[in-house]
Point group: C2
Chain length 508, copies 2
Amino acid sequence: MSTTTTPTATIEKWGMFETEFTGPATGNPYLDVSFDAIFRLKEREVRVPGFYDGAGVYRLRFMPETTGEWQFETRSETPELNGHRGALDVVAPTGTNKGPVRVKNQFHFAYADGSPFLSFGTTCYAWTHQPLDEQAKTLQTLAKTGFNKIRMGVFPKDYPYNVNEPLHDIYHVVDGKRDFDQPNYEAFRHFDTQVAALRDMGIEADLILFHPYDRWGYCDMDEAQDYRYVAYLAARYGGFRNVWWALANEYDFLIDTKPMERWDRFFQILEEEDPARHLKSIHNGAADANYDHRKPWVTHTCIQNWDVKRTQEWRDTWGKPVINDEPEYEGDIIQCWGNITAQELVHRFWTTMMRGGYAGHGETYSHPDDLIWWAKGGVLHGEAWKRLKFMRAVLEEDVRGGLEPLGPQAQWPWHRVSGAQDGDVRYIYLGEHQPVIWTLGLPEEDGDYELDLIDTWEMSVTPLAKQTAPQNHPVRHGEIIRPRKPDAAFGVALPRKPGLCIRCRRKA
Amino acid sequence: MSTTTTPTATIEKWGMFETEFTGPATGNPYLDVSFDAIFRLKEREVRVPGFYDGAGVYRLRFMPETTGEWQFETRSETPELNGHRGALDVVAPTGTNKGPVRVKNQFHFAYADGSPFLSFGTTCYAWTHQPLDEQAKTLQTLAKTGFNKIRMGVFPKDYPYNVNEPLHDIYHVVDGKRDFDQPNYEAFRHFDTQVAALRDMGIEADLILFHPYDRWGYCDMDEAQDYRYVAYLAARYGGFRNVWWALANEYDFLIDTKPMERWDRFFQILEEEDPARHLKSIHNGAADANYDHRKPWVTHTCIQNWDVKRTQEWRDTWGKPVINDEPEYEGDIIQCWGNITAQELVHRFWTTMMRGGYAGHGETYSHPDDLIWWAKGGVLHGEAWKRLKFMRAVLEEDVRGGLEPLGPQAQWPWHRVSGAQDGDVRYIYLGEHQPVIWTLGLPEEDGDYELDLIDTWEMSVTPLAKQTAPQNHPVRHGEIIRPRKPDAAFGVALPRKPGLCIRCRRKA
């Protein structure tokens, strides 16, 4: 039993405490050695799993969620890893550190410090597997966009436009074959670097653990190998505040090798091995193959579906926040999930959020060298991302608790147009509708309101003037005349064009 | 008993034979006098109801469906109307007379002579109730469009933008109140004139019998009055080959005064009283309030629903042709069923037809004098109608049996893009998708094909060249590589823009 005591570290709340120990370097420590630590603050205890990082190095990563003086002590059946003690002084967060993102108000998200998180995600499935200069470009590009989440695979991707070999193998190749009992620690260290880079840019890393687009054999790992891999990721990445767990892209296309029970178990392993309790989701391929997102270990519903006016239905069905990560992508490739116009993708974002959900961006313009953002990152060629950055900035001016739809999906007029509110702000997104006057969804009682017109494509916000609400025509059957009250206390006059959103804010 | 024999008339097959008799002019013949005639051709007998037309005039209208020498004899308990005999020599149709439209191939329509009928309808609910010069304008406008069906109400309409008094009351006003036992025959004679005018232009008159937008009391007629009215219409208009029966616009908004059993009975009365068996449908208001269109008396499913990618679902549900008469209208009024862009309406037409259904047009631009096409006719101000005329012309080049969807709604890629075929022609309508290369839905075996690009908005048709189909990426799980056969024998290169349709025709 070792009794080393490391010096007290000072770390921000939601920062990552990391320490390393030396242990056995022979045999297969990945299989044979385990250790964890108990972190204590007063009467509170948190169990944090450690992980092997190759060459006899063992690491422990911990994201503290409470300020104060924490103590920890390692535990292991391997004597060199047992009984190490240490302390950390957890201080208040600084700068852009707002903590991990959690579910808030049932259908929404917030950082742990309470600030709202309006998810504006993008997708670069295999960006960490590209040449390093391409990865640098991806980070530069992300810095100028408004995306605050990125979906990215741990494994590389084998798919059209994705035939290059990855930067690193994820497991060691032994006799020309990957040995899924021997991780390539260099690959994981590189992945750490990029997850940290995203964290420092304020971008959530939505890590995809499994996907079916594989020529290396990752889909055929056996059950024990799968479980060990998931537990390893939990131990290695659970300490990063910006990590989200996406169990799969298109898990249903993997059902032939990984049955449903295994997916459930993956979730449970994350519950057991990730003391930071990061967000957890799973992603369907076929539109009718949703996982049962009501299961307790799923924190939010993750889907891909182009039919975004159904967003309220998905909220109602699963009772959790809805992120529609693939409402089809802006692009021009042959695959029709990846060739809608920029206008249409922007429209689907507004439609989704104005019905209480969140959408995801992707860009798939064909490129002579197959450098396509959706898989490889690099640079953006399209038009949607600029409008989404504008959209996020506009919404973040006012949205605090999350946008709740103004009505059920089936209710007039919300089956046709989209509207949402949060506190004293309301938005009515008209989309393909181009009325020259509007009232529905505006306040029923007059008051001191500020009205603006958001042109979602031109990225402008211009004041609107109140105008008299048109008198509703009475409903008459024969002699019976039923006067109808006006839809709202006032109306607004609008230009005749698509893609407009009315914003109505009550003045303070 | 009268024994008058009228001279033999010569009439085209599917023409309208009309003859009149003099009978009682006192009392209330509408209530008290009935008569019909049996038309005979060899061993065939057809019972044709007659109707009263005011001032002691009784009429009989008959649309013969077989050439040859027909005999008829009237029957009535009223002696002056009983036993009239006559003959008609029914000859082959000429000119544009193709007969009435019937259901063909389960989901489609054809004229009785076998020529295809691709329904391109528009809506002018109350055009026959406007001033005569406006009605003349409506007919002039229709003549330059490509519409071959119009939805129109027998009753006038009370609704926003529809507050003027109708040209004629439908029933006599007695002591300031309409007497629903006394039709205003002048109103019906005028309606006859306009139904005939449409017929002579080759336009189907889709007659709406009831609707809820009423300030005259038509919604509150009692059950017997309702039944008498339906039977009267059957007798009066069954002889016109271009008549369709639309039991209601938005029957569900009338359920408070007319229960479901009454709607069933209306259908049955038409079955009993219309020997020409014209097409019969009924129209919902709320999206979830469809009548059970599977009932045997419904010839085709008539709905209003903006969600046009669900067209195959509606076909599957009801098993009959689907006409989506209100996939929202081009316009800019406050009501959001009437303010989509022209582009969107054209898109919805193509999407609907490329999934095996038919769509309906309407135009609702606000106008200083409330002269809006959708209700009053007059002139068109929009852009969709031109594209729909082009669309009809393009499709009529090739479509014979009807467009059948290339796949079920849920199937890749047909949940995203729309495709249909008929015999040797296929269309793939890409809509909001803008791939620069395409293969799916193109023939799997090579052959002598003619390929064209239809720009649905620019109204152009330009040749496309075949190009090598991209090799499909194999599906791999680990060591198992499953090569996938190409989607098609060849592909086409496309410009990157929305609203395109690929046409592929096998050369003769």
